[in-house]
């Protein structure tokens, strides 16, 4: 393989670096209009009346639309999950709320105008009268008997529960040498893509075609959802994904504005564009994470875990059509991660409140599972007086026990967890650290080392979901001139997977890299596929490309063999040249073989093959089990990449401020197709992890009003907070993909969560600190230090 494994720079670099990318907001159409949304200022209220007269009176306003019109003319928004198939409660929601609102920012009306300023100005003049109703502001209140209900029809505020059991936890605790218990909290935060959400639709009444441009990760599912919600045929919709300025899961469908824009374009017969503002994106663009996890752990005096119980209580916000709530399921599903615990029980309670609904965010609950397990392992280490790394090594699933079935039924494909941990400890000089720590201490500096262990299941496939499926498609087309066009159902949100796809295609066909052109993100052109999420682009899309390429290669080998006058199994192809094995001087060019197939189909060489050099194939990932009754288990994730990280921080005990001095990681996603882009992906993940651990926080007050609606208050880490990341790869191949690849896109976001807690604790051993709440803001860290100091004196 010449290209797979090569650090190829991204194919999109030149265009994007020049500022010549085309995003939804760049697209201009003749006679285009702009939409602005009227949003609820209340977290829970009934809509009494809407008076749009003042808005309609403004010159330039084309239309004001309310929930009543939407309910009369559109179907409810199609759900990303089949909630019934998941055993979860579903919700009927519309592109605009017809009767009541359930979180601040929920859309109740919209204005279409000739320009965006007029649309916004008019939207502010739409007078909505509300009658407020009781608010469910947190999970504790939501679970109390007699609590107000977010969804009155549900009878309670619980969206889904699960109870995973393995072995005999009760006996394990009864027999335990030692036990410990604690509760950890993962706060609410989200991704902050540079490009906010943006949609645009245009309808041609003569061809009855709707063209829809979206900053989305999933063009084909969006088409299905639009068709279902609008009640029109899929074939009358073309969804185009132009460049996307970051997705992180948050640009998976379906938000209220997505079908709304399509509806308005159709009813007005004019193009309608919506570009979200930053404050809108922070308010309603999908939240994530907020979970409280309690645990009991039983272990031997030398730190081997014998029993474990965990309870996950997630605040998923108001229920919606989005796939976000699934993160709570996946969190519980992923516990206890990398560890072999024979007796365990994991309970899940997904609770709805009057906050912004969750949408998928990189990590998808797995990061919180990893955070929990890291805190548990650090707890066991502290209680037994054992080393943190030693305790992890003692409890890892051994490398020779894969595939390994976890507590939830999840089937872990392969892994070598001791390998990544031992290597990262070498990278950071774990053995030598105590001496360095002591030396720093003598200089009056406090440094600490933290470790974090991630397990990041990928390739999500959920039963009967239009969005989340364990397959994808690709077309490989060799043109008469020998150049190659690859069309994929997977898409790139800006992370460069088209480059990895081209590398796979080049090797699979045996052509030079620059002969490959990759086209993604157009439902009229590309084969059906589910787009980008769950780190699936290379494992699903890449595998589909490889299978399709093999069809073409096999056909061309036959033709080339005839041309070379040898048998097909005596021919090989590399870098655009078919040659006889062992006789490289005897060759025909790839382009000449292609030309022969297209131009000489009745000639000697091509007579016996079917004309054309095009194949569309689908890859179905193995290791997914949806039929417990026949397959004995339910397992939604086929691919289990893992990572060990270690960081050294310096803490200023007087202020609670810390700096990351060193950050090392060893990642294992099986075969790495492009180490440069894999590492770039990981850098982004690390940064989102550090942001989540220390800086980013969506804060609500008791009335469920969001207080962090700008980047001044929602503080993302900047270049100034970024340490230098040192990354290595271990390659433990997946037995379930043709190349041995596993997902990489979501890795890196978990390690820092507990890693930072652990590092600060380690820097101040005399204070016996224990962090269980995130984020670790300077104020929070100072409070913990201050409290510990008070206790000591």
């Amino acid at each position: 393989m010449k290209h797979i494994g090569r650090a190829q720079t991204s194919l999109t670099n030149r265009q994007l670096a020049a500022g010549k990318g085309v995003f939804v907001s760049d697209i201009q159409r003749h006679d285009m209009t702009h939409m602005a949304v009227v949003r609820s200022p209340h977290a829970s209220a009934r809509i009494v009346s809407i008076d749009s007269a003042a808005a309609e009176a403004i010159p330039g306003v084309v239309k004001v639309v309310t929930g009543q019109e939407i309910k009369a003319n559109m179907n409810p928004i199609f759900e990303a999950y089949d909630t019934e198939a998941m055993g979860a409660k579903g919700v009927v929601s519309y592109a605009l709320c017809p009767e009541r609102v359930r979180y601040v920012g929920e859309a109740v009306a919209a204005v279409v105008a000739e320009d965006k300023y007029t649309a916004r100005k008019a939207a502010d003049l739409v007078a909505v009268e509300y009658e407020t109703t009781p608010i469910v502001s947190n999970t504790k209140a939501a679970l109390e008997p007699g609590s107000p209900l977010v969804e009155p029809d549900w009878g309670d505020n619980i969206l889904i529960t699960r109870d995973f059991v393995k072995g005999d936890p009760d006996k394990a605790f009864a027999d335990a040498e030692m036990t410990s218990s604690d509760e950890v909290y993962q706060h609410r935060y989200t991704g902050a893509a540079l490009e906010p959400r943006a949609y645009m639709a245009e309808y041609d009444p003569y061809t009855e075609q709707l063209t829809y441009w979206a900053s989305t990760q999933n063009p084909h599912p969006v088409r299905v959802f639009l068709a279902e919600t609008l009640g029109i045929e899929e074939s009358s919709i073309r969804v185009i994904q132009p460049h996307v300025g970051g997705g992180f899961g948050l640009k998976t469908p379906t938000f209220q504005e997505e079908p709304l824009v399509a509806y308005l374009a159709r009813s007005l017969e004019r193009p309608v564009k919506f570009v979200s503002e930053r404050t809108e994106d922070l308010l309603v663009g999908g939240h994530a994470r907020e979970m409280r996890l309690s645990y009991d752990v039983a272990f031997t005096k030398d730190g081997r875990i014998t029993g474990f119980r965990a309870k996950v209580v997630a605040d998923v916000g108001a229920p919606s059509a989005l796939c976000g709530w699934g993160m709570s399921f996946v969190c519980a599903y992923s516990i206890p991660g990398c560890y072999k615990i024979e007796n365990a029980n994991v309970k899940l309670f997904s609770v709805v409140t009057n906050k912004c609904p969750w949408n998928a965010y990189r990590g998808y609950g797995k990061e919180t599972a990893s955070y929990l397990m890291d805190r548990v392992l650090d707890d066991v280490a502290a209680k037994t007086g054992r080393d943190r790394a030693e305790v992890r090594l003692k409890n890892f699933i051994p490398p020779d026990e894969f595939p390994y079935t976890q507590v939830s039924g999840a089937n872990l494909d392969s892994g070598n967890y001791p390998g990544t941990l031992k290597r990262v400890l070498e990278m950071i000089d774990y053995e030598g650290f105590p001496a360095r720590q002591e030396e720093a201490r003598r200089e009056g500096r406090y440094i600490g080392l933290g470790i974090g262990q991630e397990l990041t299941p990928e390739g999500c496939s959920m039963p009967r979901s239009t969005l989340l499926g364990g397959y994808d498609g690709a077309t490989v087309r060799v043109n008469p001139s020998g150049q190659v066009t690859v069309l994929t159902g997977i898409t790139s949100p800006g992370n460069g997977n088209e480059t990895a796809i081209a590398q796979i295609a080049a090797d699979s066909l045996g052509v030079p890299f620059d002969q490959i052109k990759v086209i993604q993100g157009d439902t009229d052109i590309c084969p059906y596929g589910l787009g980008n999420y769950s780190s699936r682009s290379v494992i699903m899309g890449g595998s589909a490309v490889q299978i399709a390429a093999k069809d073409i290669r096999d056909k061309m080998l036959k033709v080339a063999a005839k041309m070379l006058e040898v048998s097909a199994d005596e021919v090989e192809v590399e870098e655009g040249q078919f040659s006889a094995k062992g006789a490289p001087a005897r060759y025909v060019l790839f382009k000449d073989v292609a030309s022969t197939v297209y131009r000489d189909c009745h000639g000697v060489a091509a007579l016996e093959v079917e004309p054309g050099l095009e194949s569309t194939r689908y890859f179905q990932h193995g290791n997914v089990y949806h039929q417990p009754e026949t397959q004995g288990r339910f397992s939604a994730y086929p691919s289990w990449p893992n990572q060990s990280m270690a960081m050294i921080i310096e803490i200023d005990p007087e202020t609670g401020h810390f700096d990351i001095l060193k950050y090392c990681a060893v990642h294992d996603s099986g075969t790495v197709v492009n180490p440069l882009l894999a590492e770039a992906n990981l850098h982004g993940g690390f940064l989102q992890g550090v942001g989540g651990a220390a800086h980013e926080h969506l804060v609500y007050d008791d009335d469920c009003q969001l207080l962090t609606t700008t980047f001044m208050d929602y503080t993302c880490p900047t270049a100034m907070e970024v340490p230098f990341f040192e990354v290595e790869h271990q390659e433990t191949l997946s037995p379930f993909t043709p190349l041995g690849t596993k997902g990489v896109g979501e890795s890196g976001v978990a390690g820092a969560l507990s890693g930072l807690c652990s590092a600060i604790e380690n820097a101040l051993p005399h204070l016996d600190l224990r962090f269980t709440d995130l984020p670790l803001s300077p104020n929070a860290v100072w409070n913990a230090i201050h409290e510990a100091e008070e206790k000591r004196t």
Binding site: R120, T279, E654, T655, T708, T710, C716, S777, H786
Partner: protein
Amino acid sequence: MISQEFDFEAPSALPEALALLARHGDDATLLSGGMSLMPMTTLGLVQPGMIISLNHIAELDYVREDGNELRIGALTRHADVAADPLIGAHAALLAEAASLIGDVQVRNRGTIGGSIAHADPAANYLPAMLALGARLRLQSEAGERSVEAKDFVKGIMTTAIETGEMLTEIAIPKLAAGTGCSYQRLVRVEGNFAIVIAAAITEPGRKAARVGLGNVAPGPVLVDVSGHLGNGLDDAALAAIGDAAFDAAAEAASDLAGDANYRREMARVFARRAVQSATDAADAG
């Protein structure tokens, strides 16, 4: 998005601007770099009826010496304040305060006059202005007056500037040779507003020292710590300086970046560090 319409004027000379201000009074809002006004307008927090841009008034963009003072035009951009050789030589504390504002784009655009007149409790200049003993020149069509920096802020984003007046110049006494200064701030992420600011000056021979504190009260607070310098800067002196700052920060408020108690404690830490560091700087010559 700014969806409300407003009238816009961009005079090219100061008298013209002052005349517009006199005519439109409180209905007019002055625009210089726009680093505060634009976001606030975008968020709908202010809805100006008229915006008068000062960006074409070249005569307000200057740094010059005038005897024992430096005079800085209100339209001087932060990047220019940070890089100006006169300011570097005679009021290094101010250069440092400017260099830590926002990010490169903000410093290239934002102006010293705009920031001071906006009087955000967390903004960088005012604590330094207090420590430096700056005077602010306020001009109107009717005349002009000078206000001490310490008398300038009346409350959160409320200043001594009256209707029809404009801040046009900042006058700063040149620091004597041997003066120590240090600008210290605690931030959650770089580029954001500070949680606490301490800007310290120690006079030659440690005859006097003062600390301007930021974001621990509705306005900047000046703490004179000269009385604690008697026996050099020993632990007791530093503790007393910290206590003085803690007491001076009694009005500290809580927000998302830090609670009131944390702010007061950080005032203690940063005042102490700033004085120590200013003294060290002076000793190092």
